[in-house]
């Protein structure tokens, strides 16, 4: 039986208040299980980062969580609602329980300190008892893990390439051996050899240490290879969730299908690559019904008027596969029923 680590229930995140509010994340239900890599994909602006920041309470103003719960199952067995933690509880929770590699994290390194100092500071905060030498050795080890030669320990951030800074951030996120690692576009600046090496390391570490990963990227082909399950977002909502290979072999939502078809192929004959027609919706004036309907090649009668519920299509259950599409109507909605256990 899979054990949940994070349960996101009916999460809503807005930017701004009242009539001016932009609803960037809507009614999201998502469960991350122990030891699982959950991929989150979707076009630019679909709300992936907002979801990640919302659930860790790191939203930049004017972002606010407008409703929902984020239940964290600690290794001790305690269940806490992250959205209700006090500030001091929250500080402890971040980094040691959940660490996050931000999109564009390569700029969050402190420009005036050496990479070694910054890594050692993070280690010190977590394990104050360690000697300086032990911390240095650990920092060295972390850099090696992310493919940076040890003679660069004394480099300042501006002396590193974009991809090297990104790798330092990944090393930092792993330094504290957290339960959940959230990576928002962690490898956009890396070559594929390095990318593969780091993700492979991450997957190995996960097996050894048992942590879980939420992996956000628009690179669906990468997600298919490295995640167990994939959730696809559109206009702030999850529109499909399934095992990675199922999404790849048999996408049910026309949007998922469109995403998969929009990659140029490295191998085989060159083919015409078609993106998804049209552009992503304006969150301030979302289309009625299914928000994808204006771009959908298979839209039919109910789509412009009725919002499809996210739930298991015929032949699936709530915890195997869900989709929000009138082509594959669901009989029960995700979140309608309390999860068992």
């Amino acid at each position: 039986m899979k054990q949940p680590v994070l349960e996101i229930k009916n999460l809503n995140v807005d930017y701004g208040l009242g009539d001016n509010a932009v609803h960037a994340v809507r009614e999201v239900h998502l469960t991350l299980h122990k030891g699982e890599v959950l991929g989150l994909a979707g076009e630019s602006g679909s709300g992936k980062s907002t979801l990640a920041y919302g659930l860790t309470r790191l939203l930049p103003p004017p972002g606010i969580v407008a409703g929902g719960q984020v239940l964290y199952h600690a290794p001790s067995g305690d269940v806490v609602d992250v959205l209700r933690l006090s500030d001091s509880e929250l500080r402890a929770f971040r980094w040691s329980e959940v660490s996050i590699v931000f999109q564009g994290a390569m700029n969050s390194l402190n420009p005036v300190h050496k990479v070694s100092t910054q890594l050692m500071d993070v280690i010190k905060a977590h394990e104050p008892g360690l000697s300086r030498d032990a911390r240095l050795a650990r920092a060295r080890e972390l850099l090696k893990l992310v493919g940076i030669s040890a003679d660069r320990l004394d480099s300042y951030p501006h002396q590193l390439s974009g991809g090297m800074r990104q790798r330092v951030m990944i090393g930092m996120a792993l330094a504290l051996e957290p339960q959940v690692v959230i990576m928002d576009e962690p490898t956009t600046a890396l070559d594929v050899v390095m990318q593969r090496q780091i993700l492979r390391q991450l997957v190995d570490l996960r097996e050894r240490l048992g942590f879980s990963v939420i992996f956000i990227t628009h690179d669906l082909s990468l997600l298919v290879e490295f995640s167990d399950r994939i959730a696809i977002m559109y206009g702030g909502r999850i529109v499909e969730e399934a095992e990675a290979h199922e999404i790849y072999r048999n996408p049910l939502h026309p949007y998922s299908e469109g995403l998969l078809r929009s990659f140029p192929a490295l191998r085989g004959p060159k083919r015409e690559v078609k993106g998804i027609a049209g552009s992503p919706p304006d969150l301030r004036s979302m289309p009625s019904g299914c928000s994808f309907h204006p771009r959908c090649p298979r839209a039919f009668e109910p789509c412009p008027d009725v919002l499809p519920i996210l739930g298991p299509p015929d032949g699936y259950t709530l915890d195997t596969r869900t989709v929000a599409c009138h082509l594959h109507p669901a009989t029960i909605a995700v979140g309608a029923k309390e999860p068992v256990g």
Binding site: G45, S161, V193, K270
Partner: protein
């Protein structure tokens, strides 16, 4: 036989050219290293590159191999240690002041990172207006300016323009921000565009739009484009030529189809093999191929390995590779396809087991 990276023909088309471009960053020695010679990071070593009118040249390669440094040297944001940069055949070395602005008007750069390149306290309108003004493309009236702004936003698919024009960078998603950065570069109406991973933060559907746009611009405006990317498939589709960089040096070059479909240098092969390919999951897991081959660490650039810098990781390494830097050898499958690899030196006899799998002609 060796080839030069610049075939003699059609030199009139050359917009920007670098010859033996080199950049060493000095390293400050810490107390424990007071002895010994002065040390430097060999970020770029003797690199040749040619950008032609109406052509997209992709630059791919390992993270930290010097791609951004090449772009910064070409845009004069960074001073070269040695070598030459020529705009329309004339050697240029300008830093700051009016000559610098004239140079950047012709040679625009799009940065790797949209988060750092936009000023958070200013709106999209400010960024684009400033670029149009500095480069004299703002027109005469407020209406001209508005038209130019609308056109820029439309070009990068931020439509309708009025939805985006008065937004601050933090109000945009990562992808939207990068499109603003691209629009700003286009505001200068340049001859050469140095695009450092312009789409790595964009999702596939928008990425396609931007790449199609770049291709369009190269055709309509005859731009010479350097396209730095980690997405090799996109190099195949959108770049005429592809160059591969490893540890500060160019290791392979040629037309994109040959380089991506018939990679010659062992590093390029590793790179192509490692590209994500969902179809290959089962096969790769069975053979463990891509995972194992990707093993090995990138070399130190402070103390780079002698000879070919890839030799410590190369499955086909020969004695000469550890001693002598390979020149550019003809691969032979298509005109202009070369590799800096001793395997392609016809005069060296090779052991059967060290022989690279034959490259099909």
């Amino acid at each position: 036989m060796t080839v030069s990276a610049t075939p003699a023909a059609s030199t009139d088309d050359v917009v920007l050219q670098a010859v033996k471009l080199t950049k060493h960053f000095p390293v400050r020695r810490s107390a424990s290293q007071l002895f010994g010679k002065s040390r430097a990071i060999h970020a770029v070593d003797s690199v040749d590159i040619v950008l032609r009118r109406g052509r997209v040249t992709a630059l791919v390669g390992e993270s930290g191999s010097g791609k951004s440094t090449v772009a910064k040297l070409l845009s004069q944001l960074e001073r070269r240690t040695s070598g030459d940069i020529r705009l329309h055949g004339e050697s240029v070395s300008v830093h700051g002041g009016r000559p610098f602005r004239q140079y950047v008007r012709k040679v625009q750069m799009i940065f790797q990172d949209p988060f750092a390149s936009l000023n958070p306290t200013h709106t999209v309108r400010y960024h684009l207006t400033r670029s149009l003004r500095i480069h004299g493309n703002a027109g005469k009236s407020g209406a001209d300016l508005q038209r130019a702004l609308d056109a820029l936003l439309t070009r990068v698919n931020l439509t309708p323009p009025e939805r985006y024009i008065d937004k601050f960078p933090h109000e945009l998603s990562g992808g939207q921000r990068q499109r603003v950065a691209i629009a700003r570069a286009l505001g200068a109406d340049p001859e050469a565009l140095l695009a450092d991973e312009p789409v790595s933060m964009l999702d596939v559907s928008i990425r396609l739009g931007i790449l199609t746009l770049l291709r369009d611009l190269k055709e309509r405006l005859s731009l010479a484009i350097l396209y730095i990317t980690h997405d090799i498939a996109s190099a195949r589709y959108f770049a005429d030529d592809t160059l591969v960089m490893y540890a500060g040096q160019m290791v392979e070059g040629g037309d994109s189809e040959s380089v991506t479909q018939n990679p010659a240098h062992p590093y390029t092969r590793l790179l192509i093999e490692a590209a994500p390919d969902p179809d290959r999951i089962e096969a790769a897991e069975a053979s463990g191929l891509a995972g194992d081959r990707a093993a090995g660490e990138p070399p130190s650039l402070i103390d780079p390995p002698p000879g070919c810098r890839f030799n410590p990781r190369c499955p086909y390494v020969m004695d000469i590779c550890r001693v002598e830097t390979p020149q550019h050898f003809v691969v032979g499958d298509s005109a202009g396809h070369w590799a800096a690899c001793w395997l392609f030196d016809a005069s060296i006899p090779k052991q059967p087991e060290t022989h690279a799998p034959a490259v099909q002609a």
